[in-house]
């Protein structure tokens, strides 16, 4: 491996020279003492400076982030599988990623906390209760039939597709100060009371699921699987959206995190699909915003680490080492404090203050002020997390982000909706 200037930041010129000299003289022992660099492909949201620094301190591994969008992650895995060493991808993408044969079935025996990974992933359960599995629920794509297989296994095997990093349950965000009444159902998104003040996200595969939650709660149709609609179901869902659009229900659609924050904070929109950190951002601007739990449940998503099949030797070892470190608690606590959920709850708990755990995970009123990892104030003492505890939120999941069999048709229908 040729050391790049970027990955070698923090290594003095002398060490590099020493390494080079050793390489010439043929002393492999010293060469191997050089830090291994892992190129980490993923979305910027999960690529914190703090995590890279902590990994450097704990393991001596250099993490080189490659921040791209979710779609770009999939594109890279399929078209340039040699351009990264570790990838943070979403579970719903696996249905198109695994058939490409570019990802490794990870050996569960080399993952120290494999048995401790929350049953949300392995069995689709929270606290012993089975949760909604419509769409690409992680349990459907968690195991492979073999390390180089391109088929998902129905029963647990020692070959894992992705080791979970973060996951969460998404719902609608609302402006309680402008709506001035309780909101309890997805159907409210198309309530004419909010005409010209509603928004939905313009990412077809996610937007269609939110739309399906609305259609179902309006009583218009009961889907067999919202994450895998038939053509007729897609027609119906898009028809409902087009009617609402023509009636002027929507103020705008959004595609990017900051757009959703902007729409909500400026009051252009009072009810919309939203992501948890965006709600936190609006609130930290001093604008009231609630991540509203709804009676039909949440739309969940999950992301995890995968390794490319081409990874071998020292890099492969480093990949496993990094993933094991990630599950060992520090990173989990770091993510939990941002409102996400982590894969191994017990190790994360050991790395959090009891009052933090009580607020984020148990849904109890905050004993003290709740702060973000960077020290900014998120919530004042006494606040309760929207949606309550881990069990209440993850337990109420209705469906998961998905890739449908009729994906092409879905994208075409969505374009029709935007053009309407």
């Amino acid at each position: 491996m040729r050391p790049t200037t970027k990955s070698q930041a923090g290594v003095s010129r002398r060490t590099v020279l020493k390494g080079a000299a050793a390489a010439i003289a043929g002393f492999p022992a010293i060469v191997s003492a050089q830090p291994v660099t892992l190129r980490y492909l993923g979305t910027a949201v999960n690529q914190s400076k703090e995590i890279a620094q902590k990994v450097k301190a704990d393991l001596g591994l250099v993490i080189e982030y490659i921040p791209v969008t979710t779609d770009e992650v999939a594109k890279r895995i399929i078209t340039q599988p040699n351009s990264f060493d570790v990838v943070d991808a979403e579970y719903f993408q696996l249905r198109k990623l695994i058939p490409s044969g570019n990802l490794l079935g990870m050996d569960a025996r080399r993952i120290k906390y494999a048995d401790k990974i929350t049953p949300v992933f392995t069995r689709g359960q929270v606290a012993g209760k089975t949760i909604g599995d419509q769409g690409t629920a992680p349990k459907k794509v968690f195991y492979l039939e073999g390390p180089t297989s391109t088929k998902f296994a129905a029963a647990p095997t020692p070959w894992i597709t992705l080791i979970p990093t973060v996951y969460n349950a998404d719902t609608l965000g609302i402006r309680p100060d402008l709506i001035k009444r309780p909101i309890g159902s997805w159907a409210e998104l198309l309530n004419s009371e909010f005409k010209g003040k509603a928004s939905i996200l313009n990412i077809p595969s996610i937007g269609i699921m939110d739309a399906a939650m609305v259609v179902e709660s309006l009583g218009a149709h009961k889907y067999r699987d919202k994450g895998n609609m038939t053509k007729a179901e897609l027609d119906l869902t898009i028809k409902t959206l087009i009617e609402a659009k023509k009636a002027g229900q929507f103020r705008a659609f959004w595609k990017d995190f900051n757009e959703s924050v902007n729409l909500m904070a400026s009051g252009e929109v009072v009810i919309q699909s939203m992501w948890s950190p965006a709600v936190t951002k609006v609130r930290s601007m001093g604008v009231p915003c609630i991540y509203q739990p709804l009676k039909e449940g949440y739309r969940a998503w999950a992301a995890g680490f995968g390794l490319p099949k081409t990874l071998t030797g020292k890099k492969l070892d480093a990949g496993y080492e990094f993933i094991n470190w990630f599950l060992s608690g520090w990173a989990g606590a770091f993510l939990n404090r941002q409102g996400y959920y982590s894969a191994v709850l017990e190790t994360a708990r050991a790395n959090m203050e009891p009052y933090e755990w009580a607020y984020w995970m148990e849904g109890k009123p905050a004993e003290k002020d709740i702060k973000a990892p960077d020290g900014t104030l998120l919530e004042k003492a006494g606040t309760v997390r929207d949606g309550g505890s881990y069990e209440a939120r993850m337990g109420a999941v209705a469906c998961w982000n998905a890739v449908m069999d009729e994906n092409d048709y879905m994208v075409r229908k969505w374009n029709e909706f935007i053009a309407a």
Binding site: D71, R95, S205, K255, N258, E259, N262, E268, N415, I418
Partner: protein, 301 residues
Amino acid sequence: MERIHRRLSRLIAPAAAPYWQVAPLAGVLAVFFLLPLAITVVVSFWRYTEYSMIPALVGDNYASVFAGCLAELPGLCVTFKTYLSTLKFCVLVWLVTLVLGFTLAYFLAFHVRSLTWQTVLFLLCTIPFWTSNVIRMISWVPLLGRNGLVNTALVASGAVPAPLEWLLFSDFAVVLAFVHLYTMFMIVPIFNSMSRIDRALLEASRDAGASAWQTVWNVVGPLSKPGLVIGSIFVVTLVMGDYVTIGVMGGQQIASVGKIIQVELSYLQFPLAAANAVVLLGAVLAIICSMTRLVDLRREL
């Protein structure tokens, strides 16, 4: 030795010189423009699945682009509707930037005498490009939004009873943002044409008894034609291919061809996106061809 020298000198002889001079640019264009373009056209005939592209020679992608276009007549299919909407923006933006660009260039070329002031005023015109696209787009919200500056002022002055909704996330907002950005692309070529006009012609026109308007219409206008056409080509191609401005200012509610291609790319439907891109390229080329028909650029330059 002598022979090599002779051969070399023949290679760099005056006759061969122009070819050497264009070679670097031609090479860059071939590798980074013609080759990708050819690949795009080839791929547009391939088949694809979620995770792979299969070399083939099928028209499926084009059929998919124009799916339902015949069946839905006299209604419009998605592709026609999208092109119609994009064309509408093209015409509106073109008209506004043409009038604005011509007026501003006229002012800069004929009324501003000192070179310093011309430079300063030109720099002023580039202000829209001083910030990033995203920041510029986001700043429109506090200005044009429901609770924005313009609406607050209008409501406070009693001009309107309630905030105007159509200021933002509307056709109006899209045209406004385009004009704000692309007028510059009109000003520069028109100014360039105008600065080449012999001032004696203007005097002759005045001496012959023409009014100021007649001079602009019959002398300055025709002589600025190359600039007008070049500026128009800039504006039309930029608007046809844009999806960021339409997306942000239209609140993502207005379709554009670029957006459709982007969505297809993000779902790894490369051959379908390639087919759409080829259709778009054809449409833009057709527009440019008809514009250059109006003015023989080569002769004018």
